[in-house]
Symmetry: C2
Subunit: 215 residues, 2 copies
């Protein structure tokens, strides 16, 4: 059975914001079983984990002789091998993959930048003055995405791996804080979170938090 | 013939740092012809271009009825349809795609963050105090990548689309400034730049700059 890695003790306290969430959600959408191996922060920086993940992060995927990293690559690998997350038709499939890259590269970058700033520079003298610059970068991307989505349910036809990754990125607090300004994006995220596969993935990672010491 | 978009007047003054470079390089590695349609900054923010690229960026790909955006997605689309940038074997192919995501998500993020900071906050009172934080983030990623590359020529066996995107990301000045600290990465980038397909792509985008007013 394919095995992924996830935080033994997730810094998000089970809110489904760690990078294993997208991979769990993909397994659930595809109806495929998976195992989870929990790793500590100390283990993530040791040679055995670095052999799987050179940047010392989670998740990884091990399946037979294959070891993969990068949540986008893992979701794409799964989506290519099981039906449900990519259109059959070649052009639609290429567009869904474009939305995967758009989520993880173009939309995620300013969200993660704002998130890291809130986490690591809150006590710096420049914090108050600089925060609006980062807010504007996130807002610019969300406005462009909102305009493209319009009143559609999903980004390009039916729900795809592109929507899975985009909803996952928009759920990060540094982006979610601005969703009330974009009601169609807020509804889009809510539609994603209402999917039974999302709920199963969310509950599975939340159970890890509840079982952990202090959870 | 497939048509991509590129800057009519590139802010990098023909140094091959605009996002069309990776796509041009992929076409050259695959031995496939392509056309280029140049767009101005004003055009990029207008509805016809936004219909192709919702974030108002370049490059895009138009080919028959298909319109694609995100340079990673375009390179992957081309690499899937023509031999030369992905291994035939399934596991090697999945790993090459993982390196594509690693380049554009994990390695690029701190490089682009440092680049934007240098470009847009040089006259802010916090510039001097904050720059070392960004240097450290880039250095951390480069050290991890350097450790993984070791004395290999490419990231995983033969040259792949993963190497193409990684070399392209490492060429950005905010990353390249630190390459002297990592001689194996500097040699890796030089190997990429020495490829005839890289040279052809570089010369093609440089010719656009030379032909432009002020070029």
């Amino acid at each position: 059975m394919p095995t992924i890695t996830a935080f033994e003790s997730s810094p998000d306290r089970g809110r489904g914001l760690a990078r294993d969430m997208a991979v769990r959600w993909a397994f659930e959408e595809l109806g495929q079983p998976y195992d989870v191996r929990l790793v500590s922060f100390a283990e993530m920086k040791q040679p055995p984990h670095l052999a799987l993940q050179p940047f010392g992060q989670i998740p990884t995927l091990e399946e037979g002789g294959l070891a993969l990293f990068e949540s986008g690559a893992i979701v794409l690998h799964l989506a290519e091998r099981h039906p449900g997350l990519l259109p059959d038709e070649a052009d639609g499939r290429a567009r869904a993959i474009a939305w995967m890259f758009a989520a993880l590269v173009t939309v995620q970058a300013p969200i993660v930048e704002r998130e890291a700033f809130l986490l690591m520079e809150q006590d710096r003298p420049w914090f108050e003055a600089r925060l609006p610059l980062l807010d504007d970068r996130v807002r610019t991307r969300l406005a462009q995405l909102s305009r493209r989505l319009g009143d559609a349910d999903w980004l390009d036809g039916g729900f795809s791996a592109g929507d899975l990754l985009m909803v996952n990125v928009l759920r990060r607090p540094a982006g979610a804080a601005m969703l009330p300004e974009f009601p169609n994006l807020a509804a889009y995220v809510a539609r994603g979170e209402a999917r039974p596969a999302f709920r199963r993935a969310f509950d599975a990672q939340h159970a890890v938090f509840l079982a952990a010491p202090g959870g």
